[in-house]
C-alpha cells in the first residue's frame, strides 16, 4: 500500500512541469555524428572479425559428407564383424520357419540334403551324370503296339 503510494507520488513528481522542462532540454541536445574515417575503421575491424569465422564455414561443406561416410563405415564394420546368422535348424513343415527363412535358402538346403543322401546310398540312385532319354512326341503319339492313338481320347 505504502509502495503504491510512493509509486503514485514519484509518477506525479515526474509529470511536474519542471521535470518535463528538463526532459525537453535533454531531448533537444544535438545529435552526435561520427566521421567516415571512423566508419571505415569499424568496417576494417568487422571484416577482420568476419574472416575469423570463415574457416569454420569453409569446413562446414565437408562436415556433412564426412559424417555420412563415418556412419556407413561403422555399419559396414558391424555387418562384417557380426554378420547376421540364419537359423541353424529347420524343421520341415514348420510354417514359422518357412516364413522366417527365405524360400531360396530352403530350396538350397533341400538340394544339398538330397545330394548328400544320394551319395550315401551306394549302388542305388540315379547317376546325375548319366543321360536321361526322354520320350519324344512321336513316341507318345504311337502306342506300344504301333497303332495310332487318338489324342482326343486321352
Amino acid at each position: 500500500m505504502k509502495a503504491d503510494r510512493n509509486f503514485e507520488n514519484i509518477d506525479a513528481k515526474l509529470a511536474s512541469s519542471s521535470q518535463k522542462a528538463i526532459q525537453q532540454v535533454v531531448e533537444s541536445l544535438p545529435e552526435d555524428t561520427l566521421s567516415m574515417a571512423w566508419r571505415s575503421s569499424l568496417n576494417e575491424r568487422l571484416i577482420a572479425e568476419s574472416a575469423a569465422y570463415k574457416p569454420r564455414l569453409r569446413f562446414s561443406w565437408f562436415a556433412a559428407p564426412a559424417a555420412g561416410l563415418a556412419v556407413a563405415a561403422v555399419l559396414a564394420v558391424a555387418v562384417f564383424v557380426h554378420p547376421p546368422t540364419a537359423p541353424n535348424t529347420l524343421v520341415k513343415g514348420d510354417s514359422r520357419v518357412v516364413a522366417s527363412a527365405g524360400s531360396v535358402e530352403i530350396g538350397l538346403l533341400d538340394t544339398y540334403r538330397q545330394e548328400s543322401v544320394s551319395h550315401e546310398i551306394v549302388g542305388s540312385g540315379p547317376d546325375p551324370s548319366a543321360e536321361v532319354s526322354h520320350p519324344s512326341i512321336a513316341d507318345v503319339a504311337t502306342d506300344s503296339d504301333g497303332s495310332e492313338v487318338d489324342p482326343e481320347s486321352l
Binding site: 514519484i10 509518477d11 522542462a21 531531448e27 541536445l29 545529435e31 571512423w38
Partner: protein, 205 residues
C-alpha cells in the same frame, strides 16, 4: 512510434518487420545487413557513450567496440529484448567498465530520497522559464556539463529515458533494476540538472 531510416519514415510495425529480417541476416553474419544496423544506430550509440565517457576520442573507440562486440555475439541475441535495448546494454556495460578502469573523479550527487528534494522543486522562480530560454551553444554546454557531473547511474537513466525515449520497463530491463529505481533515478537526475541550470542562470543574471 515512427522511425526514420534514410529518407523513409516507417511505422512501428513496419520497422519491427524490417528489424526482424535484419536480425536474421545479421545472425548469418551478413556484412551488408550489419552495415545497415550500424547506419541506423551508430550516432545514437555514440551520443550515449560520449555523454557517459567524458572523452570524445575514447567514446568513438568504445562505440566501435560496441558494434564489434555485437557482431561477435549476434548468435546470442535471443530477441527477448529489442535490438536497440540489446545494443545499448552492450554500450552501457562497456562504458561502466571503461569508467571503472580509468581512475576518473566525478562530482556525484548524493542519492537522496525523492521526497526530501521534491519540496524544493516546486518553488516558483521567474528567472527559470525553460520554455523561453533559447538553447544556445553556451547553455547546451552547461547542460552537457551538468549531465557529466552526475553519477553514472543517474546519467544513464536520464539519457536513456529523455534522450533515447526508452520506456521505464525497457530501461529497467537494460540496467537490470526495478522500475521504481529507474523512476527515482530519473527524478534525481532531472532535479540535479535543474539545479545546475538554475545556478547558471542566477550567475548570468
Amino acid at each position: 512510434m515512427e522511425v526514420c531510416i534514410g529518407t523513409n519514415i516507417l511505422s512501428g510495425r513496419q520497422y519491427d518487420a524490417i528489424e526482424s529480417s535484419l536480425v536474421d541476416r545479421c545472425r548469418r553474419r551478413d556484412m551488408e545487413a550489419f552495415g545497415k544496423l550500424v547506419d541506423a544506430y551508430q550516432n545514437r550509440v555514440f551520443g550515449f557513450v560520449r555523454r557517459m565517457i567524458n572523452n570524445p576520442e575514447e567514446a568513438a573507440d568504445v562505440t566501435q567496440d560496441v558494434f564489434v562486440r555485437a557482431f561477435q555475439s549476434f548468435d546470442r541475441f535471443d530477441g527477448r529484448s529489442s535490438l536497440r535495448t540489446w545494443l545499448f546494454r552492450i554500450a552501457y556495460n562497456l562504458c561502466i567498465d571503461r569508467v571503472r578502469r580509468s581512475d576518473r573523479r566525478v562530482t556525484e550527487v548524493a542519492l537522496v530520497e525523492p521526497g526530501e528534494e521534491g519540496e524544493t522543486m516546486e518553488v516558483a522562480d521567474m528567472r527559470w522559464q525553460p520554455e523561453q530560454i533559447a538553447l544556445d551553444d553556451e547553455l547546451m554546454g552547461v547542460v552537457e556539463e551538468g549531465i557529466l557531473s552526475m553519477s553514472e547511474k543517474l546519467r544513464s537513466v536520464l539519457l536513456l529515458h529523455d534522450k533515447e525515449e526508452m520506456a521505464y520497463e525497457e530501461i529497467a530491463n537494460l540496467l537490470d533494476v526495478p522500475i521504481g529505481t529507474v523512476k527515482s533515478r530519473l527524478f534525481l537526475a532531472r532535479a540535479h540538472l535543474q539545479n545546475v541550470l538554475k545556478t547558471y542562470l542566477e550567475a548570468r543574471a
